[in-house]
């Protein structure tokens, strides 16, 4: 098994609805792996299974050989899996800095005693964290000017960046991004694609990406997996996917429209 993250025959259903029906796939270390498919295909469900928000009824999900399906959700970040959400799930009444600091929660040690006393070990830890966040994350994502703003007052595009920042503060091995460019204009989308590439190349973080913007997906992905009605219908490099008959059919059913959409 040479995959870093492998998904084997995962079944997930809600009552009579089969959300995932025997999906098997795998992500290699250091690649950008995209999952695409029409609405309701089960893309987010798959991420939720990896995160352990959902427990698949059958099948296994393994990170570097370790099965995740029996762990509780809050144990997952400790193994090196971070994620962002389709609808921004930030802590809206807190500042940008605090949100990003929260991402580093698992790497900090202070508890109710050292935290309440603050001076001493806790302050050192906080200052090191602040320095790390400023130098690595805020600088990379170009959000210096909003670091002290309260999150709910920020425009959507910036909130998405902050959420990415929070995920980066977790110092993950694998980053799951659920539609990071949705609802953004062209410039913001390009920024986001640039950040993803930077993170992937400079930090060496494996990226699992769900995205509807085919321009982004085809440009930056190493491999693409296509889901439709909970079943994997194709997997391969972007060039193969672009010309795959089944994918074209699943996507719109009409060849000419699909071709224009898949570029």
């Amino acid at each position: 098994m040479d995959y870093q993250l492998s998904v084997n025959d995962v079944h997930l259903s809600f009552g009579g609805l089969q959300a995932l029906n025997g999906v098997s796939t795998g992500v290699n270390e250091g690649e950008i792996f995209s999952i695409i498919g029409p609405n309701g295909a089960g893309k987010t469900c798959l991420l939720n299974c990896i995160n352990r928000f959902y427990r698949p009824q059958k099948g296994s999900i393994k990170l570097e050989g370790r099965d995740l399906t029996r762990l509780s959700p809050h144990k997952i970040p400790g193994l090196g899996i971070a994620r962002t959400f389709q609808n921004v799930e930030l802590f809206s009444h807190m500042s940008v800095l605090d949100n990003i600091r929260l991402g580093a929660h698992i790497h900090l040690k202070s508890g109710f005693l050292t935290g309440g006393i603050y001076f001493g070990p806790c302050r050192n830890e906080e200052m090191n964290l602040r320095r790390h966040i400023e130098n690595e994350i805020i600088d990379l994502l170009e959000i210096e000017q909003i670091r002290k703003s309260i999150v709910y007052s920020l425009p959507y595009g910036l909130q998405k960046r902050v959420e990415l920042g929070r995920a980066l503060a977790m110092q993950p091995k694998i980053l799951l991004l659920d539609e990071p460019a949705t609802g953004m204009n062209l410039e913001e989308t390009e920024d986001m694609a640039r950040f993803i590439l930077d993170i992937n190349e400079e930090w060496g973080i494996t990226i699992v990406l769900i995205e509807h913007d085919m321009g982004v997906v085809m440009d930056i992905s190493d491999r693409v997996c296509v889901l439709d009605f909970g079943v994997k219908i194709a997997e391969g490099v972007p060039e193969e996917i672009r010309h795959n008959e089944q994918v074209i059919k699943a996507y719109l059913g009409e060849q000419d429209l699909t071709l224009s959409r898949l570029g």
């Binding site: 997952i76 970040p77 009444h93 929260l102 900090l108 202070s110 109710f112 050292t114």
Partner: protein, 347 residues
Amino acid sequence: MRCGDFKETYVKDEEIFQSLFVKFWLGVLFVFLIIFPFVANQYLLYIANMIGFAVIGAVGLNLLTGFTGQISLGHAAFIGIGGYTSAILVTRLGFSFWLSIPFAGLVAAAAGLVIGIPSLRVKGLYLCIATLAAQFIFEFIFVHWESLTNGITGINVPPPAIAGFEFNTEKRFYWITLVVVILAVIYARNLVRSRMGRAFMAIRDRDLSAEIIGINLFRYKLSAFAISSFYAGVVGALWISYLKVITPEHFPLLLSIEYLAMIIVGGLGSVLGAIFGGIFMTLVPEILSFLAGIVKSILPGREAIFEPLKNVIFGLLIILFLIFEPRGLAEIWNRVKSFFRLWPFSY
């Protein structure tokens, strides 16, 4: 003219009191608090002690309700547990009062842990009802476990003492209250700017994302309950040794609701707000009584109208606050501060 605060180190940037101006006024406040007992009369010192107890309790409840988002209607029960623990340890087991304070806190915290367990499954109003149950259960225990609590007769408690010096007057007790208030406020303020406090706020704002960044909801919700109840227990211990007697009537549901009102009026999720709320809820009824007294001397024979009117006005004040200032007194404070910071160019 100052147009901004520029910090050169992260340590400076993370300070609670950012400018020299603020530190100066903090010093003034401190000096005032030291001088106050020497100039104030018995009545003012009584109010100061009451404000102190209210502030400690409100800061504790705000950690749970304002910061962690877990509504609790059982705060009075935890205060009662702290009070009874202290009273029983001092009168039956011969503990010194000072040693009984941390024990009161710990026993209350243990009770808080148990009462907090439902918070893992139920949220919001449902949790509110679960904690309401705690309130009634403990009130019932205080009344009916007579061998331990003496039932409705209560327990008489000696005043605290150090080497024969008894803290038996308003003025003497003021020093104890002051020290505990300062410690309680510093601890809470530090906690909310470190890892644990941030985790509390994360749970309040969005518990799902709190979980995906690795926060153990079980552990942190219970921690919030324990810390908040610890504060309540300490208040209980202080309060009963101040009153020198403890009975079940001291801890009714109304007291829990008053504490909730304090943090709502003061500002949820703000240590400063809890302080303001504690002051407001203690001071305003006293001021209204004072005004009622004046009205009484001007219009004798109309007490029957003005006495109840006092409560009406107090209620009205709270309602007006909720409507016009839903984020509490702390928010007004922030606005005033930023007005003076930006004046005269408020853009």
